[in-house]
């Protein structure tokens, strides 16, 4: 830049009005901007003047989420670039090509899923697929990202748009869990959801666990996680159901599937708030998370005000203000994660408060 186009502090006052009215020659305007960007004193002075252009400038003072830089870096490393839209004359050909590709991906995807025993319905496939899964070589980050894309495409091709899914989720607490799954976690967890359970019934369940020497690995007012063999789980179910006053007090989302008698499974119990009937616990399945993806997810949670309460292989539990749940979900979708939610966000007036809600996440650590 030539010397005559350098603006000094002493010149700012003279050039201020023409700058605000956009009457400076282009070189002078540029030099003025360069100066005020590097001189805080002059910048504050210019911005203190009441002018419309300054108001627009001030509107740019927004807060930047703390995870923005790492999100961009993450996207670069882990997400495939978006395919640019086809030009108009080639649109028909592109539509045909895409249709063929979707059919091919769907076909290959189904074949792939069958091979790896992923995505299964309760009534058709066994519950525990650990042995088959552990024989598979963990995919690299790149493979993981590609597979993630394929899963998304297959999911989209199968017609379950995010909107439709969202509508389904509101009633997810009353339908079998596994029929909604996109992928499978390892080991297959078992979920029970107690709907508006009375404290006395909750007590009976805890007594049943105690009598069978089952010690929860994580326990809060709303959430209990424990590991037990299929045999012990059967005994718990038997004891609780037989002593319950309600007709269906216990919902075992995996009913109908064989539980291995001698192998341990992880059981997650959710208790809805008895008095307010507000769901304070959510459960998510996040499909195919590499260690890097997991680290990124944890970072997102923390950047939105969530805190990690508990973490153990394949599972973590975090708390987050209820008001931030939708934001968190959108942010996770931006990252390209596929996740399925069980639980519903109450939206009755006055109920959507900043009370922390607990979310438990099961994930597969870099493998299906």
């Amino acid at each position: 830049m030539r010397d005559e186009f350098v603006i000094t502090c002493s010149e700012v006052k003279d050039k201020l009005r023409p700058f605000l009215e956009d009457m400076l020659a282009e070189e002078e305007y540029r030099a003025f901007v360069v100066h005020i960007e590097s001189c805080p004193k002059c910048r504050d002075y210019v911005r203190s003047i009441s002018a419309l252009s300054n108001q627009l400038w001030k509107l740019g003072d927004i807060e930047v989420p703390s995870d923005f830089v790492s999100t961009v870096i993450f996207n670069l490393k882990h997400l495939k670039p978006a395919v640019p839209p086809a030009a108009k004359p080639a649109r028909l050909a592109a539509v045909i090509t895409v249709s063929i590709l979707i059919a091919l991906i769907l076909f290959l995807g189904i074949a792939y899923f069958k091979k790896f025993k992923v995505s299964q319905k309760v009534s058709e496939t066994p519950l525990i697929t650990k042995q088959i899964i552990t024989e598979q070589k963990p995919p690299s980050d790149q493979e993981a990202a590609m597979l993630l894309e394929e899963l998304k495409e297959i999911k989209e091709a199968s017609g379950s748009s995010p909107k439709e899914e969202s509508a389904e989720k509101t009633s997810a607490v009353t339908v079998p869990l596994a029929s909604k799954e996109v992928g499978i976690v390892k080991p297959k967890p078992i979920h029970w959801h107690f709907l508006y359970t009375e404290e006395a019934e909750k007590r009976k369940l805890l007594d049943a666990l105690n009598s069978l020497s089952i010690i929860p690995e994580y326990k809060t007012q709303d959430l209990i996680i424990f590991n037990a063999t299929g045999e012990k789980i059967d005994k718990v179910i038997e004891q609780v159901i037989s002593s319950s006053k309600q007709s269906t007090p216990l919902r075992d989302f995996t009913t109908g599937t064989p539980i291995s008698k001698d192998k341990e499974s992880r059981v997650t119990l959710y208790f809805d708030n008895v008095e307010t009937q507000i769901v304070n616990v959510f459960h998510w399945h996040v499909v195919l998370m590499s260690p890097q993806q997991k680290a990124k997810l944890l970072e997102i949670i923390q950047s939105i005000g969530g805190s990690i309460d508990y973490e153990s292989g394949g599972l973590f539990v975090f708390s987050i203000p209820k008001t931030e749940m939708e934001k968190l979900k959108k942010r996770i979708q931006v990252m390209g994660f596929i996740f399925t939610e069980f639980g519903k966000l109450e939206s009755k007036e006055g109920q959507l408060s900043s009370i922390p809600v607990k979310v438990s996440i099961y994930f597969s650590e870099g493998r299906l």
């Binding site: 282009e26 540029r30 252009s53 108001q55 509107l59 740019g60 923005f68 961009v72 670069l76």
Partner: protein, 161 residues
């Protein structure tokens, strides 16, 4: 792949993230999540396209250009939060809120032109390249955009008494 440039990238993103996010925010009608998505993917796209990282200003203009392209077809309902900056007095915030509300009512192109010049202070040459019009047209249309914004502000103030 980008390891050697990662530190440069982080520094560049940090330098321009607020401007890019703000530009995206008003172009998409105030939806913060959508703006975040557009801004993050625009940075990534600009980097993938190999835009010169070492020339910060040029890189910034290219990212802005990508944001402009990506935001064009996004339809969101105006959803403006309170002015979140802690640096302004209550009176200033009210005033900014009026401008913000008026801005969101303008057409996509009008908003973009105003933001490119009066918020980002880009040269007309760059603005014309981003929007795809001549420099002279950019000057005329930005003047018209300012007039439209003033008109919207007046209407809001009249309504509020």
């Amino acid at each position: 792949m980008y390891a050697q440039d990662e530190e440069t990238l982080k520094s560049l993103i940090s330098r321009y993230q607020q401007k890019i996010l703000a530009f995206a925010l008003y172009l998409v009608g105030g939806d913060r999540d959508k703006a975040y998505e557009v801004a993050a993917s625009s940075f990534a796209e600009a980097i993938r396209k190999g835009y010169p990282l070492e020339k910060g200003d040029v890189f910034f203009t290219r990212v802005i250009s990508v944001v402009f392209g990506k935001s064009r077809d996004i339809k969101t309902m105006p959803n403006l939060d309170e002015i979140d900056s802690m640096y302004y007095s209550a009176e200033e915030k009210r005033s900014l809120r009026v401008v913000q509300t008026a801005l969101v009512k303008l057409s996509f192109e009008t908003k973009a032109l105003l933001l490119l010049r009066d918020q980002l202070h880009l040269p007309y040459k760059d603005i014309s390249a981003i929007v795809g019009i001549s420099e002279n047209n950019a000057r005329v249309q930005i003047e018209e955009a300012r007039f439209s914004l003033r008109k919207e502000i007046e209407e809001i103030l009249n309504r509020e008494g």
